[in-house]
Amino acid sequence: MSAAHPRAITRELMVLRVCRELRDGMVVNLGLGVPTLLADVIPADIDVLLHGENGVLGYGAYAKPEEEDTETINPGGAHVTLRPGASFFDSTESFALVRGGHVDIAVLGAMQVSERGDLANWMVPARGVGGIGGAMDLAAGAKRVIVVMEHVTRDGLAKLVRECSYPLTARACVQTIVTDLAVLEIVPEGMLLKELAPGVSAVEVQARSEPRLLIAPDLREMRF
């Protein structure tokens, strides 16, 4: 099986789809990688407070060169802007608010998600050492975890799996998965296919997923 489905959507569209889950007043944390792209596309008509593990609430889009401030960064270390109403605090506060359940949505990348919603996103065993950062705290503490990732690996292997073979970040923590082919929800019965990328079929998504997918009665095309 070739890795890239010809009608797989771009990362930018995946991020726009995630954006539709955001509501005015939410506190949202964006993981490293694809999720960070979200900061640039949050609609101007809603106030979302972006939380960064580095101790910031209310950062904004990436800074233009003339806007760069050396101490205004996102958790990945990129220079960002601040939205009006932003605040800074220390690392214990930053994680107390995660562990205390004050983050509405954590948007995280993933290497594997199991049909129970187990998440693996910090270590490739072949590499030997990984990087956890704040991922375990967010997976355990956020009210809702949305995973955004390519549906299969570069080599075409399924990332939606029955059991994660990579070391876990947290058990049963993922609620929603947005991929370049589909949107799925973890429900008590398993993995529910809810939306398809334009031109992609449920059969094609099933062929690239290990678990037997449940099909939502109102299965529809993704909107951005």
Partner: protein, 228 residues
């Protein structure tokens, strides 16, 4: 009371072989660069280094072969193409790794500073992090017992201090610095500006003087979020 020390060299001169040293900073922002480089030159060996990542603040010490153990949340990046000096030494068995989720790392420091020997957290339950650690159930959820993390020294970066050791940080420069200052027996602060006691508005003090033992004026050489 005067905690001002004339130089970074003098401030780190009693850090001995085998010491446990916390390094503040987040991707270089808020790091005490003069102190880190002074410690690398000082040459104390077999250090245990505590920092949220190995790649930036710890790098001068790891590259000088002075670190025997790291306690960190980001030893390496799975996506990185290049093997870091930490990974090279780790794979050769020259350096020990204690991997800690970032929030647990912060809370272990806070606990040490507050005299709390252990605490429960949901972070890490059911993962490799939980191996060998007791768990308990509270109100229907399983939690992991984590221990405090004290240190001999903390090297913290701040914007401003007075000679009592009251500190003010700027923006993301605060990060782990406050928790480290409280957790370490001796905290050395490297600051960009030193003012007289009373010139920092009492409500604006981020880290009160009680947690800081020495203050050094920064040369500014590494203050621009350097190292990324």
């Amino acid at each position: 009371m005067n905690k001002l020390v004339a130089s970074a060299e003098e401030a780190v001169s009693d850090i001995a072989d085998g010491a446990t040293v916390m390094l503040g900073g987040f991707v270089g922002v808020g790091a005490a660069w003069d102190l880190i480089h002074a410690l690398a030159r000082h040459g104390a060996r077999n250090l245990t280094c505590i920092q949220t990542a190995t790649r930036i603040e710890m790098a001068p010490l790891i590259e000088a072969g002075l670190v025997g153990k790291v306690i960190t949340s980001f030893p390496a990046y799975a996506s990185a193409d290049r093997i870091s000096p930490f990974e090279e030494q780790y794979k050769r068995g020259q350096i020990e790794l204690e991997l800690v989720p970032q929030g647990t790392l912060a809370e272990r420091m806070r606990a040490a500073g507050a005299g709390i020997p252990a605490f429960y957290t949901a972070t890490g339950v059911g993962t490799l992090i939980a191996e060998g650690k007791p768990t308990a159930w509270f109100d229907g959820r399983e939690y992991l017992l984590e221990r405090w993390l004290p240190a001999d020294f903390a090297l913290v970066g701040a914007l401003r201090a007075d000679r009592f050791g009251n500190l003010v940080y700027r923006r993301s420069g605060r990060n782990f610095n406050h928790a480290m200052a409280a957790a370490a027996r001796i905290t050395i602060a490297e600051v960009r500006e030193i003012v007289e006691p009373g010139q920092i508005e009492p409500d604006a003090v981020h880290t009160p003087a009680v947690y800081v033992q020495r203050v050094v004026l920064s040369s500014g050489a590494g203050q621009n979020g350097a190292g990324r």
